[in-house]
Symmetry: C2
Subunit: 384 residues, 2 copies
């Protein structure tokens, strides 16, 4: 018999009887997808069919129940998309059903070795051994390559650790991908030569499905420090494939665009901890962008802290990664974020820096302020 992994689902149900029936439905829906009474006896029933391992009442304000359902590695067939299909495929379309967490098996750890770099690797590459990192973004779409590269240059001079493309920058005529890539790498390198820092430019990887890998490798060839992509658009295996490819060898930053309602309703979709934590690590992502609490999106402080947990908790293999909260960040919010995230964080600060007239000085002040806050809070070198 193959090893089994298990998924914890939250289920809406009026009572245990209903919850039990719903949980058994998931065992069928996620695996054999035929009526229970015609599941072939033997291997299919014993091995492939999902198995309800535990059912407990929910412990938060949602009520409901938590069902622990195990699946066989045989059902995965070495296919990461099929793993996601088993975890939540058809059941994702049912109301009152949410993926809370996954318990990995050795086979899944082999299929998903996780990020190549992780938080520690990103620290090593940027030369920042303690305290939060800072990432800014060049934007908006519509600026010329020269204007965008100039922004990147100033951000790098100001001591930002990572400078990413806005996720809307693709291959527009105003700034074609190859041109922007070359210009921004050069602009950041030039700044690094002056500062002695190791700032990384992080281009946005998109395009037609057959271009994605080509663009990612172009970034590597050109000297980018990492790449960014949006799994909900490009597909959920791209980052895993890139991270697993020894010839690629760049960190991957993931962006939440198009992730949609799956991550904003408490009774459907995915828990924040799973979607922005566990799943990202299984996908080989090194840093995950998500909407910060108190910004212009609706994530709560508690939800963001659960993401920090998902990014750092022991998974028995996949490395811890960086949460990169962003979206409406301002200088004033740094102390509160410091209390929430400690040192295990990449601050993503975009618009707030762009409005500064003296951008380099503003970046330097931001960098000093964050380093000071980290020292003041007494948080030492991270554990990873």
């Amino acid at each position: 018999m193959a090893q089994r992994f298990s998924v914890a689902y939250w289920l809406a149900a009026a009572d245990e009887r209903e919850a039990y029936a719903r949980a058994l439905d998931i065992c069928v829906e996620q695996t054999v997808e035929i009526p229970r009474d015609i599941v072939p006896v033997g291997y299919v029933e014993d091995e492939i069919l999902g198995r309800l391992e535990a059912l407990l009442p929910g412990s938060d304000e949602r009520g409901g129940f938590l069902a622990d359902i195990s699946y066989s590695e045989d059902d995965v067939g070495g296919d990461f998309l099929q793993l996601l299909n088993i975890v939540f495929g058809n059941s994702s379309i049912k109301t009152g059903t949410r993926v809370e967490a996954i318990q990995l098996s050795d086979g899944l750890r082999a299929l998903c070795p996780g990020p190549r770099f992780g938080a520690a690797g990103l620290r090593a590459r940027t030369g920042i051994s303690s305290g939060p990192l800072i990432m800014s973004a060049i934007k908006p779409v519509g600026l010329s390559t020269g204007e965008l590269a100039n922004l990147a240059h100033k951000f790098a001079l100001g001591g930002m650790h990572l400078i990413k493309d806005d996720h809307g920058l693709v291959d527009q005529p105003t700034s074609p991908y190859a041109e922007r890539l070359a210009a921004c790498v050069a602009a950041v390198e030039e700044a690094n030569d002056k500062t002695g820092y190791r700032c990384a430019y992080v281009p946005n990887i998109t395009g037609s499905a057959s271009q994605i890998f080509e663009r990612a490798f172009m970034a590597r060839e050109a000297g980018a420090g990492a790449v960014m992509l949006a799994p909900s658009l490009v597909g959920f295996d791209v980052s895993r494939s890139l991270a697993a490819d020894p010839d690629f060898g760049l960190p991957v930053v993931s962006h939440p665009t198009f992730a949609g309602a799956n991550i904003i309703t408490p009774t459907t979709g995915f828990s924040h901890r799973f979607f922005f934590g566990t799943l990202q690590r299984l996908m080989g992502v090194d840093a995950v962008v998500f909407p910060n609490f108190g910004g212009r999106f609706g994530f709560s402080r508690e939800e963001c802290l659960s993401i920090l947990q998902g990014c750092t908790e022991d998974l028995g293999g996949p490395k811890p990664i960086f949460p990169a909260p962003g979206g409406g960040m301002t200088f004033e919010r740094i102390p509160d974020m410091q209390r929430a995230y400690g040192d295990h964080v990449i601050y993503l600060i975009g618009g707030a820096l762009l409005r500064e007239r003296e951008m380099v000085a503003a970046c330097q002040a931001l960098r000093a302020g964050i380093a000071g806050a980290a020292t003041a809070s007494g948080s030492g070198t991270p554990a990873y």
Copy 2:
């Protein structure tokens, strides 16, 4: 100035003032993603920034408002994923925001020429010029290639028009992809030789991101009649790329697995008409699988009829496609479905056939029953 396309959003808002503010936020969020007061004047503000074209009170039980927002083709940069990013990227993570419809521009029609075959092309390939088509599925995961091919053979003998893989069939050791592909193509061809029909085998295309196209072309080389894929897992550009590739030349069936909460809540995500209709056609899909009303998922009859509308309404270019409702279909439901969908439908019937002892005879009865219902309802040759 480039042409503009527009997206209709439903917005939750207490009054027009709030709706107006929310709509203007979307104009910024989906394009420049920087505070409104620092948007560069000139090209960026005039061209790239989203533009609120109309704001009207909602007309259904949700209340709220409908905002019509236009975007420049310049922002798309010839990138389909960027189009989706503009349509709903970050705003997909906001509550009370839903994409209802899109108004295409000529540039988008050039980027998305749509399905290669469409409903009429699928009819031509299967030789069924009128009435509903029938698709069944070989399953469950865990059966051997021989068992699955035997099922495909019987379905084809019984006159099913399309026979798809279960979407959980990937490359499991019990039935590796290449082996299953060869065996099922042969099994269906052998049956076609006996019946004179043109039944098509439709393998499930998945794998690592770099394998997807290889698997799709393997299907073509082996003689499959179409391919199936799940856009929410493999990414949203794969089917568009395949449909646009003249060397590929097979119809594409899309499967809704992992589409999640985006398609089940009335106040977030996408309207059924957009997600299962318009979007599929922009992606080059020829037939779209979705959960039928009255089955084990929660779609209403009205929602399913809106999908039929989305699959067939005039988009000024992309061909009409087939809705393929499935999920808990039974023989008894055929008359009701016939009243709902008319002839413009592929009935997806899986489990109900698998429980029949005399499967070939059951398929033949089903085919005859559906043809009879089509004749009885007086519905003639479809308009496409």
